[in-house]
């Protein structure tokens, strides 16, 4: 599908924003500005951007613990994301969710579950709601290779299949569930092969190629909107850093392996593609890099200057009705 130059530039900018944002998060975590656990997706940027750039306004997305990229790709405000990571009252979740529970219902981001495989049934519900309300939205859920070994994967794909729900199951196969290589925990070559068990299409995509991810998503989303049901999209990708910050990753994979994947870097590849196509000039690329750096810098400033939530806030939002 032919994309406008403007759209492609926007996709490039979003990929760069994810990477810039996350490298800053890495530093801020090391400085103690961000607490808890952060799971970075550096290396995987083509997947969220490829998928979300193929969606329409009003579509739903469900995310997981490694979800900064999903949010940025969908258009969640970077300032309020950073404020959330800082635990401030201006955060997207008022400081109650943090890095693992980002949500912004205004843009269709229905939230991140930090229980591996927890989001798949939720996506079925979003799809069911779309079908019963008879709108032409689609629901997307991002999950990892690890989640595809959970029972919820089986239950959710089957349920979405039999009810023909408009759900895109996007597996970000980054080759490792924490430290466990995917090859040690499944005998099938592709996670997408499992789709056959539910009578739905299973597509393997090069997750380091944002255009390929985009095109496959357009096709799956169109199929879903027309009422033909869900698709399992497996994007083969790689995380350059550990499972979480603090994981040195050297105990379960080699530097050589990481370097091999970095040769396929999605951002470099897309930049080259855009330059070769004449969409992006070198000076424009530098300008974009600068813009993104400023955007993230402003987000950090906003977060840092934002007030902490008051202690009373901890007891609010349990229920819609007054809390008890």
């Amino acid at each position: 599908m032919a994309l406008s130059q403007e759209k492609m530039i926007d996709m490039y900018k979003k990929m760069l924003t994810i990477r810039t944002f996350e490298y800053k998060v890495k530093d801020l975590f090391a400085q103690g500005k961000i607490v808890g656990a952060v799971h970075l997706s550096i290396g995987e940027e083509a997947v969220p951007v490829g998928v979300c750039s193929a969606l329409k306004k009003g579509d739903y997305v469900l995310s997981n613990h490694r979800g900064h990229g999903h949010c940025i790709a969908l258009g969640v405000d970077v300032k309020r994301m950073m404020a959330e990571l800082f635990g401030r009252e201006t955060g997207v979740c008022k400081g109650k969710g943090g890095s693992m529970h980002l949500a912004d219902f205004n843009v269709g981001m229905l939230g991140a579950s930090a229980i591996v495989g927890g989001g798949l049934p939720l996506a079925v519900g979003a799809g069911l709601s779309i079908k019963m309300r008879k709108t032409d939205q689609v629901a997307v859920v991002f999950f990892g290779d690890g989640a595809s070994n959970q029972g919820t994967f089986h239950e959710s794909l089957n349920l979405a299949a039999i009810w023909s729900l408009p759900v895109l199951f996007v597996c970000e196969n980054n080759q490792y569930a924490e430290s466990t290589p995917v090859t040690r925990v499944m005998l099938v070559k592709n996670i997408a092969d499992r789709a056959a068990a539910y009578g739905i299409p299973g597509i393997v995509v090069d997750g380091m190629d944002v255009m390929a991810v985009h095109d496959s998503t357009v096709e799956a989303a169109e199929r879903a909107r027309q009422g033909y049901g869900p698709t399992l999209l497996e994007c083969k990708t790689y995380r350059y850093l550990g499972h979480e910050e603090g994981d040195p990753w050297t105990t379960y994979r080699s530097q050589a392996e990481v370097e091999e994947w970095k040769k396929k870097d999605a951002i470099n590849r897309f930049r080259k593609y855009l330059v070769d196509k004449g969409v992006l000039a070198e000076n424009e690329a530098a300008e974009i890099e600068n813009d993104v750096k400023n955007l993230v810098g402003e987000a950090i400033k906003f977060a840092d200057e934002s007030p902490w939530p008051t202690p009373e806030e901890a007891l609010k939002d349990v229920f819609v009705s007054p809390n008890y």
């Binding site: 739903y60 469900l62 955060g91 997207v92 979740c93 008022k94 400081g95 109650k96 969710g97 529970h101 949500a103 912004d104 219902f105 229905l110 939230g111 579950s113 229980i115 927890g118 798949l120 049934p121 939720l122 996506a123 079925v124 519900g125 979003a126 069911l128 709601s129 779309i130 019963m132 309300r133 029972g151 919820t152 239950e155 959710s156 089957n158 349920l159 039999i162 609010k316 939002d317 349990v318 229920f319 819609v320 009705s321 008890y324």
Partner: protein
């Protein structure tokens, strides 16, 4: 006691059926989801959703039979609720919650809080509880205390047809996740007055099911009826029990319980759930914290001992609270 102005009597099960029917008629966003709701046993594993009323009238879109995939359909209900619908999910027996607990206590219950109040999750999970039928360890538990422990869930445990109808209507209209526990021993065997027109019973308001002056007895579900039998027997010995049914254990009406204890100075809690760390323990803790000096004798808990529910009728009877066990607990503190 609520004064119920009707001659009409329904069983507990019929009251549930009527609430579901009226709420589905009232609001097209309400739909049912669960295993074998449509035609099995004429409509639902316990016949709560008769096919000629539900499937025929609302069709398979709104009376949604599911595969045996509790995690998937409970999670689906949470997001369907968060995106504008009002699902009423049925889990056939409370014992089956083990396979979908994450979707309840981590997803549905926490969605609103962890997203800073963005989500509204108006869903109801109905389920069947209780022993007395020889169903053994996997089909006889109560377990409502587990759900009351987790923030973000409202927990309803009705004992009469009137309350069941009004509380279920309330649960469906409520904007938060509600766990609704129906005791299988009440379904066909308890009948009572139920007005035909729709009505709601508010959450967090206990009801004094029988007034008395010597001992406060707090009980839920079938145990309310066992306590009433105990009260009738003890009346002959000049011991008068005041029986309080909290009706919802989250939110809990502490005031009514404390006022009664102030009057009687004695407290027995009857709880069919396991004794350890449960509903009875919570009521005891509240009274110890906020009403200790009202008491003139120790608080007694009559609950299921901490063993799985056994199969043999002889063994089951030994563990589940009944009027005999209630009378014996009362006698330990009276006299």
């Amino acid at each position: 006691m609520t004064e119920i102005k009707t001659e009409r009597e329904l069983t507990f099960k019929e009251a549930i059926t009527e609430a579901l029917m009226q709420e589905m008629e009232r609001d097209e966003k309400v739909f049912l989801m669960g295993e074998d709701l449509g035609v099995f046993y004429g409509g639902g594993p316990f016949g709560v959703t008769p096919a000629e009323k539900f499937l025929k009238k609302f069709g398979p879109e709104r009376v949604r039979d599911t595969p045996i995939s509790e995690a998937a359909f409970v999670g689906a209900a949470a997001t369907a609720a968060a995106t504008g619908l009002r699902p009423v999910v049925e889990i056939m027996f409370v014992d089956f919650f083990g396979v979908c607990m994450d979707q309840i206590f981590n997803q549905a219950a926490k969605m609103r809080y962890m997203f800073g109040g963005q989500a509204k999750v108006p869903m109801v999970i109905r389920t069947v509880i209780g022993g007395g039928f020889g169903f053994a360890a996997h089909h006889s538990q109560c377990l409502y205390s587990i759900f009351a422990h987790v923030p973000g869930l409202k927990v309803v445990v009705p004992s009469t047809p009137y309350d069941a109808k009004g509380l279920l209507a309330m649960a469906i209209r409520d904007d938060d996740p509600v766990m609704f526990f129906e005791h299988k021993g009440l379904y066909g065997s308890v009948k009572g007055p139920v007005p035909e027109e729709p009505y709601t019973v508010p959450f967090g308001k206990a009801e004094i099911k029988r007034e008395g002056k010597n001992v406060t007895v707090v009980a839920t579900a079938l145990m309310v009826h066992k306590a009433i039998i105990a009260a009738q027997k003890l009346e002959k010995e000049d011991i008068s029990l005041e029986i309080i049914d909290p009706r919802t254990i989250v939110p809990l009406d502490k005031k009514t319980i404390l006022e009664s204890v102030k009057k009687t100075s004695k407290l027995v809690i009857v709880d069919e759930d396991y004794e350890r760390f449960g509903f009875a323990s919570e009521i005891a803790a509240i009274v110890a914290e906020e009403g200790l000096f009202y008491l003139d004798s120790p608080i007694k808990r009559v609950a299921t001992p901490n063993v799985p529910i056994p199969y043999s009728p002889a063994l089951e009877k030994a563990v589940i609270p009944d009027e005999g066990k209630i009378i014996s607990a009362v006698k330990q503190i009276v006299g």
